[in-house]
């Protein structure tokens, strides 16, 4: 209520823009592959934003509320669960300070020219918790940052400091798009409780694992989301300088072409796993740790995920121009340490080089076509990568056909991960009934030669790619949106 009161007050001021975007999305799982999965989800999102002039610049204020209700038919402890989250959206101030322009706040700083397969857009974290169902405008997550910009008319330098860094938001457990699906953790704990081990500790460990499984099953949604969210954030350093990132962007707009050089000294947006060897050995041999492995056991209890967030140097370049009726965009990026997952919860850091190119063509607002290609090369990669490939070429294409005076649009898109032989196709039809109401419906189909993992063990040794890992979540949705 405070937010809406603030927005109402802001609306009274001169030159203030206020917007409210509320939507209810009902998602149906098209293929019921697992008894534990969610059959339906209802996602309600409310985003309120306001902006206006202040101090020669502009302030902005945003807040996002998100409620998810999931219906699974055979979930232990009930078949409906719900979770709510309210968080600040883009909020801050941008304006002149002496010869420079300053941007301060909880904001999104976007790099790059490619939309479907970005390469240099590495500064902000992404919301990956709902996989491909998250609306594109909500994928990039705001983070606290300060950006100073200085330059002349068509050339400028931007120095960005992110005091607390940023991270991707990944669902660790319990949803259709989580790394570990509904019921997999408790099932793994129950299975481990049947393993043999040292006679001195076996019974104790089996009891503990059984109790742990019951505990996970008994967590309510909010608590489980918070608990696994906290686990996914473990290992992030607290001290300001230990967490902060520094980034520099040099950009020029000579006639006919935009070019930029980017560089950063930043923490990885995705965590580096490093499961203790004692735990890895136990999982591989399916035996409980013995008395001699107590040190490993204690390490697991102290830090079950073993996550860290390695630093990396980043250097890249961007280019955008037009060739006749076609727009051309290209990006390249070098990273000194990319965090990659290996089998059984291990991880590694390797240097990588990524390149991407995009073409687009449009006929007014009636038709827009875009095609993009990207490839990442991991330099000196380990042999047992999970959800990654030594060389990872990808293709993507999309279109937007607008009909009936822009009241109806058809938006198909496809992504192909060539290293894994995987394809994801998505199509959505939007109907703007009035200025205030929009109705849309769509579907996504995920295809992979490798089935999605059915257990923790399969997830930790998965040989498919990111599309395959989600390939049991083909879905169709209907969304009603209210815009003010």
């Amino acid at each position: 209520m405070l937010v809406f009161a603030l927005l109402a007050a802001a609306a009274a001021a001169d030159a203030v823009e206020v917007g409210l975007d509320a939507s209810v999305q009902t998602v149906a799982d098209l293929a019921w592959d697992r008894p534990e999965e969610d059959r339906f989800e209802v996602v309600t999102r409310v985003r309120a934003e306001a902006s206006g002039p202040a101090g020669g610049g502009r302030w902005q204020l945003g807040v996002l509320g998100e409620h998810q209700a999931r219906v699974g038919f055979e979930r232990a402890g009930g078949d409906v669960e719900a979770a709510f989250e309210l968080r600040p959206w883009e909020s801050g101030w941008e304006g002149p300070v002496g010869p420079a322009r300053l941007k301060v706040g909880h904001l999104v700083e976007r790099w790059g020219r490619l939309d479907l397969l970005p390469v240099t857009d590495v500064l902000v974290g992404r919301d990956l918790r709902n996989g491909p169902l998250t609306p594109p405008q909500l994928v990039r997550q705001p983070a606290p940052l300060v950006r100073a910009q200085a330059g002349v008319e068509r050339a400028r330098a931007e120095l960005t400091w992110m005091p607390f860094g940023a991270r991707d938001r990944i669902a660790l457990e319990g949803t259709d798009a989580a790394l570990l699906r509904q019921g997999q953790v408790s099932a793994a704990l129950r299975e481990a409780a049947t393993w043999d081990g040292d006679p001195l500790t076996q019974a104790l460990l089996q009891d503990a694992l059984t109790a742990g499984a019951s505990g996970v099953d008994g967590l309510d949604t909010q608590l489980r989301q918070a608990a696994f969210g906290a686990l996914g954030e473990s290992g992030r350093p607290d001290p300001l300088l230990g967490s902060s990132d520094l980034a520099l962007r040099l950009e020029a707009e000579p006639r006919g072409v935009d070019v930029a050089l980017v560089g950063a000294w930043m923490r990885s947006r995705r965590p580096l796993p490093s499961a203790p060897e004692g735990l890895v050995g136990a999982m591989q041999t399916e035996t409980l740790p013995g008395i001699a492995d107590q040190e490993a056991l204690l390490a697991v209890l102290a830090d079950p995920t073993g996550l860290s967030w390695p630093r990396t140097w980043v250097g890249g370049a961007e280019l955008a121009t037009t060739l006749g009726a076609v727009g051309l965009r290209a990006e390249g990026l070098y990273q000194s340490q990319v965090a990659v997952a290996r089998a059984w919860g291990r991880g590694a850091t390797v240097p990588s080089v990524t390149g991407g190119v995009g073409l687009d063509w449009a006929w007014g607002t009636r038709l827009a076509l875009v095609g993009e290609a990207r490839a990442q090369w991991l330099l000196d990669p380990p042999p047992d990568l999970v959800l990654a490939a030594d060389v990872d070429p990808q293709l993507a294409g999309g279109a937007r056909l607008s009909l009936a005076g822009d009241r109806v649009s058809v938006e198909p898109g496809v992504v192909a991960l060539l290293a894994f032989g995987e394809v994801a196709g998505r199509a959505e039809v939007r109907w703007r009934v009035t200025d205030a109401w929009e109705l849309s419906g769509g579907a996504i189909v995920l295809s992979s030669p490798t089935d999605a993992p059915r257990s923790v063990q399969q997830a930790l040794t998965y040989t498919g790619g990111p599309v395959g890992a989600l390939s049991d979540t083909d879905a169709a949705w209907l969304t009603l949106r209210w815009i003010q």
């Binding site: 917007g19 950009e251 007014g364 005076g405």
Partner: protein
């Protein structure tokens, strides 16, 4: 690379007219009309109402800034309503002797992008205005002829050349102030396609500005009303600095 071409912002002060004429009198009419409508730099706030065949209305509001440096015309358009398109911006820089520059900023993508030439084809933001309707010069190689003349007005036909989607355009020009009061567009088969009616004007110094106009699509039954909510013409150049037309300005105005 067409001379003195600019989109909507300039249309609001100056409707499309043929650039050439076959006889001296017609040349003078058009030259006078052009002079009357000549604007160097302008800032305007505009409401665009899209009316469907069934009478349903949708509203768009935007601000347009135009700066003219000799033969180079630069325009910046930013939509402010409805909220889901607020922050969408279009920058057009028309060079007389080089490739035009066009940039589009879509707030949802957080990106300012160069766009290619065909992006200026077809309907403007779902309205009954085509991009080419909004170009100040119209077709440079248009052939014009005087159809009729009364004490109050001239009626002039123009046959656009080049890539125009129109077979013929008929202008009705008011003699009193040299302002076109109606523009009728015909398709390639010479069937009536659209009709633009100027319903109200305002005088700002020597310039007569259309402040309310309606474009009707006679074949689809839809129409689009343009209302100028605020306007400032011939503003000092330093109020519209060159920086207005850069990606950096668009990014922070998104």
């Amino acid at each position: 690379m067409r001379a003195a071409r600019a989109l909507l912002p300039l249309l609001l002060a100056a409707l499309s007219m043929p650039a050439a004429a076959e006889d001296a009198d017609l040349d003078q009419i058009l030259a006078d009309a052009r002079e009357t409508r000549q604007v160097e730099n302008s800032i305007q706030k505009v409401r665009m109402v899209l009316v469907s065949r069934t009478g349903k209305e949708r509203v768009r509001e935007f601000e347009a800034r135009v700066r003219r440096d000799g033969e180079v015309v630069k325009s910046w358009t930013r939509f402010s309503h409805p909220s889901d398109v607020a922050g969408t911006q279009l920058v057009l820089v028309d060079h007389p002797d080089a490739a035009d520059e066009q940039r589009l900023c879509l707030p949802a993508l957080k990106r300012v992008n160069r766009i290619a030439g065909k992006a200026r084809k077809g309907s403007f933001m779902g309205s009954d205005f085509a991009f080419e309707d909004l170009e100040i010069s119209g077709a440079d190689d248009a052939k014009a002829s005087l159809v009729s003349e009364t004490d109050a007005q001239w009626v002039i036909d123009a046959v656009p050349g080049g890539e125009s989607s129109y077979g013929r355009v008929r202008f009705t020009v008011r003699k009193a102030d040299k302002v076109p009061t109606m523009v009728e567009f015909f398709d390639a088969a010479d069937a009536p396609l659209k009709r633009l009616t100027i319903e109200d004007t305002a005088r700002d110094g020597e310039v007569v500005l259309p402040t309310r106009s309606t474009m009707e699509n006679l074949q689809k039954g839809t129409k689009t009303r343009l209302e100028v909510l605020e306007h400032r013409l011939n503003v000092p150049a330093d109020e519209i600095p060159d920086e207005t037309f850069t990606a950096a300005f668009m990014e922070r105005s998104g």
